[in-house]
Point group: C2
Chain length 205, copies 2
């Protein structure tokens, strides 16, 4: 199996399956079917079977999937069977919210540093973190071998900071700045922009 060949749209659905399995597991359920999982995530049973079968045979005809086993496999595939240190760049409202966000627990990520260039924010305590000077950012990224960053700064500064992150070795950027970023082919960017997401829905209203 050549992992490179699996379509991005399939990869994009795996975290959603994993999240639904986690919820079932939390409520004490041990096995599930593609039908039941599909009902939880709003995707057809056939699509789920097809997606999962790209990676191997993880279920049994008749008995379905063992939830702990399938979760282990999905975590392994998504490389969240380990803990990634994530940095936040930008200690504004969104940076604060992300620094205090409880939703990363058990999902493979820990926010380990937050940076800003605003002297009034540097030194500020946010949960267990202290806002660090953005001047030290690239050095700290290299020292700690950081690969994942979340960007919560204004659009005007986003490309410049992205170039610094990439230069320092970051390979995955979750971008909250409302602007498209240019990055090399080996760097991944995901975008979160509430206005863009809302506009994708108003079309249908």
């Amino acid at each position: 199996m050549n992992a490179e060949k699996i379509p991005d749209v399939i990869i994009a659905r795996l975290p959603v399956y994993l999240r639904a399995l986690q919820r079932m597991s939390d409520s004490g359920v041990k096995t599930t079917s593609s039908k039941e999982l599909g009902d939880h995530v709003g995707i057809s049973a056939a699509q789920i079977r097809k997606d999962i079968s790209q990676f191997g045979e993880f279920g049994k005809q008749g008995t379905g999937y063992s939830i702990p086993y399938l979760m282990d496999k999905l975590r392994e595939i998504l490389k969240v069977d380990r803990l990634w240190d994530v940095i936040i760049v930008g200690a504004g409202d969104m940076g604060h919210a992300l620094a205090r966000y409880q939703g990363f627990v058990n999902r493979g990520f820990v926010v380990s540093m937050i940076f800003d260039n605003d002297p009034t924010k540097i030194g500020q305590q946010i949960g267990s973190l202290v806002v660090e000077n953005a001047r030290l950012m690239t050095e700290k990224i290299r020292q700690n071998n950081i690969k994942v960053a979340m960007l919560t700064i204004p659009a005007a500064a986003a490309q410049e900071v992205t170039d610094q992150l990439v230069e320092a070795g970051v390979k995955a950027i979750l971008n909250y700045a409302p602007i498209s970023l240019n990055v090399p082919d080996d760097v991944k960017v995901q975008y979160i922009d509430p206005a863009t997401h809302l506009q994708r829905m108003t079309y249908y209203l």
Copy 2:
């Protein structure tokens, strides 16, 4: 032209084009080409021409696109040539950040109300808004003909609140709760879950 037939993936790209055009316009540029727009958003010129041509002939061979004209057309298509009142349900960290978010300006949305069921939050001032009692939510939605909501509450309560929103007439939900929601076919949901977005990238690391 039957708007219903245009694939969702094309609709999903239009807000990204609109955002890039807005930035060009803000910096004083009046015309662009599919090549230039493509460079800004990381999409091929051919794809952009194909996407836009689904809706009509908005550019001219040789001279390209008038940015103000194309922006008007895209706004019209996405129905953000008007201002949608949006409510926030959940006045936690993320609700606060969204209530104070400046990125909705000129993009078709205004946050008009925020609700919570926590007595310590009700009455709290956030920017120009005051947190209202969640008990009044469905009544206010109906009174003000609200169609769009952002959900920033814990996963455990998200489906129940979604059912209330849908019952009250909401047709578009931007869901920050880390759970898939069940909604009728005529209701749209978009998901923002930072951990899910991060997991979509770690696969490639």
